[in-house]
Amino acid sequence: MKSFEELYQRHNRRVYSLCLRMTGNVTEAEDLAQEVFIQLFRKIGSFRGESAFTTWLHRLTVNQVLMHFRKRGVRLEQTTEDGEAPIQIVKGTENPNAMPVVDRIALDKAIAQLPPGYKMVFTLHDIEGHEHEEIARMLGVSVGTSKSQLHKARMKLRGLLRQQIKPK
């Protein structure tokens, strides 16, 4: 148990952060991180060292979050949150100011507002640095879907970040 505690100390932030970014909810992220470490304890014997431990743990975490979404009946391929039309920038109607400096708090807040499917792809691609092929494999979608979700996520984020600095 002592060595497992060391593993926890070393990786809990990574696991929790991934859960937090993918769910956007502190309580859910904590519960998921707990479940990930329990699964890790059960499955650590099956780790064969074919990939780096962090990669293996990362996959375990993503799978746990995906299972959580499936249990909750969240569709990962939904186009937009409430069936809203995809965001379009019509020439001349957008904020003429340049993009404000992106900061952590603003970005986290905006990511939390993304629909689950967008959030998942954006987190895996832009934050965690996975390629579209890997994301497609993990989520069981096509590479095209992954790219399209990422584009829509960025568009949505752009809008949310601009809204945050809009003077009231």
Partner: protein, 232 residues
């Protein structure tokens, strides 16, 4: 192509994908379209920020509490598993030996002190018994003299004692359970290894005092072990 279609290609452009032809076409559109150029700049800012801050992680609100929740769940699961693995008719000895023990430092220190105390008392008692000529020996049997006898005599006496107690052990051995037989065999193997090693040393150096001592101790241990198991 309209602006919406160009914007759909922007993510690929920002991520460094797309053919050279596509890139040229988008770049030429961006040079004349402020709206699309702003989208591109925003994408670069978002992706760039994420890239720069990759590997920065949020702290769990209460790391210790989360660990306690995890370890409690795991320990509870382990306890259930251990309970399930104990056969219904298992003896209390089996249950005791299959428990997982977790002692605090204090408990461990007390246990070690108790063992040391018991061993010391047992050693003193056996020394007294030995030096009093073995008059209070629980079970009759050949005794080994300790004072003023030659090495050869002592060796001969030890051999006699071993032969005697070995016969007694052989008589009772069939009644032993497998755990007891394993314990006996394991201990005997260790003693025999020490015996053989010291004999080998004495063959090479006939009067080596260290090897003589080891041989003497091993023979005494063997007698003690046989004696202990003879009545079981």
């Amino acid at each position: 192509m309209n602006c919406e279609q160009y914007q759909e290609l922007l993510s690929d452009l920002v991520d460094g994908f797309g053919s050279g032809e596509d890139r040229n076409r988008i770049e030429s559109h961006l040079s004349g379209c402020v709206a699309c150029a702003e989208v591109r700049d925003d994408f670069v800012a978002i992706a760039g920020y994420c890239h720069e801050h990759r590997g920065e992680y949020d702290a769990v609100p209460n790391e210790r509490a989360l660990w306690l929740r995890i370890s409690n769940t795991i320990e509870a699961e382990n306890a259930v598993r251990a309970k399930e693995s104990v056969p219904s008719g298992a003896s209390s000895w089996f249950r005791l030996m299959n428990r997982s023990w977790q002692l605090s430092f204090g408990q461990l220190a007390v246990a070690v002190a108790a063992i040391v105390l018991v061993v010391s008392i047992a050693t003193v008692a056996s020394m007294k018994q030995l030096y009093s000529g073995g008059s209070n020996v629980r079970t009759a049997g050949p005794t080994i003299g300790t004072n003023n006898i030659s090495l050869d005599d002592r060796y001969r006496q030890q051999k006699q004692a071993i032969a005697y107690w070995k016969d007694r052990v052989e008589l009772n051995k069939a009644r032993w359970n497998p755990e007891m037989r394993d314990t006996f065999d394991r201990n005997m193997t260790v003693i025999d290894t020490a015996l053989n090693d010291s004999m080998k040393q004495l063959t090479q150096n006939p009067h080596d005092p260290v090897s003589e001592d080891i041989l003497n101790d091993a023979l005494n241990d063997k007698v003690a072990l046989l004696k202990e198991f003879a009545d079981l």
